[in-house]
Amino acid sequence: MVGIVGYGTQIPRYRIKIEEIAKVWGADAASFKRGLNLNEKSVPCPDEDCATLAVNAARNAMSRAGINPQEIGALYVGSESHPYAVKPTGATVSEALGACPYVHTADFEFACKAGTEAMFVALNLVKSGAVKYAVGIGSDTSQGSPGDALEYSASAGAAAYVMGAENLVAELIDTHCFMTDTPDFWRREHANYPEHGGRFTGEPSYMKHVTGAVNAILEKTKMKPEDFDYMIFHQPNGKFPVQMALKLGFKEPQFRYGLLTPTLGNTYSGSSPLGLAATLDEAKPNQLILLVSYGSGAGSDAFIFKTTERLLKVRDMAPRVRKQLDEHKMYLEYGQYAKFRHKIVKPE
């Protein structure tokens, strides 16, 4: 039996409203709010990056796990905003947690599913018996080109999961992957912002891969949508996951805790892992949760977890997602946002 021993998240305090972005570009805020179900998004402050968010999320996960950091045998960080092209984020995070030096680490990248990749590998390393505990983290300070549709959603946040074989808060029931070479969204080496295929990112990309992963894991486990208490899909906006969930036969109560994008934005690698954390914050013991990520390029990882009694004991050992999302918010104007996100280039 393997699964989640501890989980933790980090969301920056800064926010920017959709209207504030739309105002600058002369865009129709209502169409983003209504059409994509986006209201505001988180913004990292100048001192926050993928590594600091990952460290804070992992520390919160360790608080809930209650384990000795020296027992962590592996730590993986999935992101598309690693601070360095060459120099592992995982090393910084491992050091900050006190897990060094006997720890295996690697940085993952697969657009928005790098976080669940880290979780997938961590879970399976524990399952193999190679390590006692492994940490999987999804962390991003997402990029969206100024004025592009992505600028309305690309946000920042992280979720970390300590995986182990005992003292679980949620047991892993099964996993399944669905992946093809589909170029819907990409960022070339040295480019500051990603490019994307517009509407191509929808039906032939997000919809196809999420559907593929859901159908595969349901078939493998002989389960049906109604068997789950909760489900979380990757949330590039507030529309796609809802549309997809309803189409596949899930109902609103199943995603009521996991859908965060309308006020959080798309935290890329942190997106579906944050949705899972918000669901664990509210779930009761012995409930089934389906988690399905999506990463452009393109693929989906599906996981089924079953919560345990221990979840109730550790839940309040770290801040809940809703607290980080709803409290102590500070709103930015576009100018401050542009400065924070290094969109203003100053001479050296």
């Binding site: 129709d28 209502a30 169409s31 209504r34 059409g35 295929g197 517009g198 509407r199 191509f200 039906e203 032939p204």
Partner: protein, 385 residues
């Protein structure tokens, strides 16, 4: 000139056909057409395609399409007249058979628009405007039609809701068409709540970006009678006209002179008046376009297009049904295929094979296909015999 009949039509379902290429969809429509005709005899091919170059990095369709149709020695010509390319290709096929040069000519319209980003799509569509005097200065097609809409509202009192009624009516028809890209019904509210594109035009006032292909097989009435297709559908009139490419050069930006003249020429050739026509497929690239086209054709009085639409005159069961197929708005607007697809719809209606959207006793049809902001127009009159 020999008398001309259409003995085959071939459509595909329009949409965002991510899994298919330009050649795939063109061949699919051509094969559907040959199947419908019951013959695979093709002496020559005319191809309507606006911009394989910008949309797909592919010109030379006169080699590509015969090649992938398994007819690589068949003569082919490509016809380009912006959004009227398809209708012009049918006209070329007509002339080739009427002249006696060939007996069986396939008119094949195709456009694969979704392989590029929205920016390139918009840029490509703006090449149908005046490059030096319009597009260069930043105005694109929605902008030009928005100017017409504003002027129409000002001069004739056409309302925002009346514009929306065009889209509502076309979606109602398109919902009955299995080949439609967006076969859903909408309300005036859907249009009014959609994103603003170019004031006053909103997203649901504009035809979509579409991948699609359509084909018709043309031969002489004599040949068609041998094959014995019933009812026989003939092309009895064709009219073409041009207008200034730049909207600002026109005497009156609220008059589609090319549409008016092409209509008169086509009707004259067919020996008909507009009152003899039972229904029309028209170029509703924007809601305002349909309003101005039905005025230019004399279906309604000048300035009355909006009111007439709101009053249901152009509905499927109205006095003069317009766009029973769903039009460009609901069926989709794959540029080069549009003019051919309009003729496919007219043939289906005249044969009585249009299913739930069938117009009763449809005997004579008009199809109107135009380029850019109305700088070119081709009109066909079709009759069931």
């Amino acid at each position: 000139m020999r008398d001309i009949a259409i003995i085959g039509i071939g459509m595909i379902k329009f949409g965002e056909l991510w899994e298919k290429s330009l050649r795939d969809i063109a061949v699919e429509a051509a094969l559907n057409c040959m199947k419908d005709a019951g013959t695979d005899r093709i002496d020559s091919i005319t191809i309507g395609c606006m911009s394989g170059g910008l949309f797909n990095g592919q010109e030379h369709l006169t080699s590509l399409l015969p090649d992938y149709l398994g007819r690589h020695t068949t003569p082919a010509v490509r016809v380009e007249s912006a959004c009227a390319s398809g209708g012009m290709a049918v006209r070329s096929a007509f002339m080739e058979v009427a002249s006696g040069m060939s007996d069986y000519v396939l008119a094949l319209g195709v456009e694969k628009m979704t392989d590029v980003s929205e920016n390139i799509e918009t840029y490509t569509l703006a090449t149908t405007a005046d490059g030096d005097y319009e597009a260069f200065h930043g105005i694109n097609l929605p902008g030009l039609y928005a100017l017409m809409a504003k002027a129409h509202m000002e001069k004739y009192g056409t309302t925002r809701n009346q514009l929306a009624e065009v889209a509502v009516k076309n979606h109602r028809n398109g919902a009955l068409n299995p080949h439609s890209q967006f076969p859903m019904e909408i309300t005036v509210d859907t249009v009014l709540r959609s994103a603003l594109v170019a004031d006053p035009l909103r997203l649901f006032d504009c035809s979509p970006i579409t991948d699609g292909a359509a084909a018709v097989l043309i031969t002489t009435v004599e040949e068609a009678k041998k094959i014995g297709k019933q009812p026989l559908v003939i092309i009895s009139g064709i009219g073409v006209a041009s207008d200034t490419i730049a909207l600002c050069q026109r005497k009156d930006i609220l008059k589609f002179e090319a549409v008016e003249l092409a209509g008169q020429r086509a009707l004259k050739m067919a020996g008909k008046t507009i009152n003899d026509i039972n229904f029309a497929e028209v170029h509703d690239s924007y809601t305002i376009a349909e309003i101005m086209v039905i005025e230019a054709l004399g279906i309604v009085k000048e300035g009355q297009g909006g009111v007439a639409t709101a009053n249901g005159i152009t509905s499927l069961n109205g006095k003069f049904p317009i766009n029973p197929s769903g039009g460009l708005k609901s069926k989709g607007h794959p540029i080069g295929a549009t003019g051919v697809a309009q003729i496919c719809e007219a043939v289906l209606q005249l044969r009585g094979q249009a299913g739930k959207r069938q117009i009763k006793n449809a005997k004579t049809a008009l199809t109107q296909n135009m380029g850019g902001s109305g700088g070119s127009c081709v009109i066909h009159i079709l009759e069931a015999k």
